[in-house]
Symmetry: C2
Subunit: 108 residues, 2 copies
């Protein structure tokens, strides 16, 4: 095994999990912060800011792109990355709704 049984969960549950993965590694948190604060944008600048190799940073960027929360535009030979506003909003609202489902009145 080692594989998540995605088929047995709802699309929404899988999407939430995917969005959460964007934030589930400190390097990706750092990248998303830098992009959200516009402190960096060019991949090379991100590499300078992060204590990881260029290959590793590139891999995290790829994962964030797969999720859709960032996008990159080419300015050869550079690539400028930025937050995808639509997906950022989706994440914000998705987590907002999730956190709002909590009903108090403890049983434990």
């Amino acid at each position: 095994m080692g594989t998540t049984k995605s088929e047995v969960f709802t699309q929404e549950e899988n999407r939430i999990a995917d969005l959460a993965k964007a934030f589930a590694h400190p390097a990706r948190v750092a990248i998303l912060r830098l992009l959200a604060q516009k402190k960096a944008c060019i991949c090379g600048d991100l590499v300078d800011e992060l204590p990881l190799s260029q290959a590793t940073v590139s891999q995290h960027l790829k994962e964030l792109k797969r999720i859709g929360i960032i996008q990159g535009s080419i300015d050869p030979p550079r690539v400028c990355y930025c937050i995808n506003e639509t997906v950022w909003e989706e994440a914000m609202q998705t987590f907002g709704r999730m956190f709002a489902t909590f009903l108090k009145s403890g049983c434990c």
Copy 2:
């Protein structure tokens, strides 16, 4: 490797990543939802609601407990799980702050 270089990131970045991990698997999303909506609380009930084995559910519960977002109280031979309100709030505010850092005015 395969190990995250936690030492080189800030405590906050690591904490955010950990909190995100709670939501980074569809089964855990389902569990947290059930607990937040109080549709289940006893471990056995969770197992009934989820398409996973008892051992697997127990493992996810353990991870959620490690993060701190749920807690369990013993009612032998049962265990009643529920959301830890404090950590739930911490997560809500942490993600709220994170999402609020986004500055518009795109460069891409």
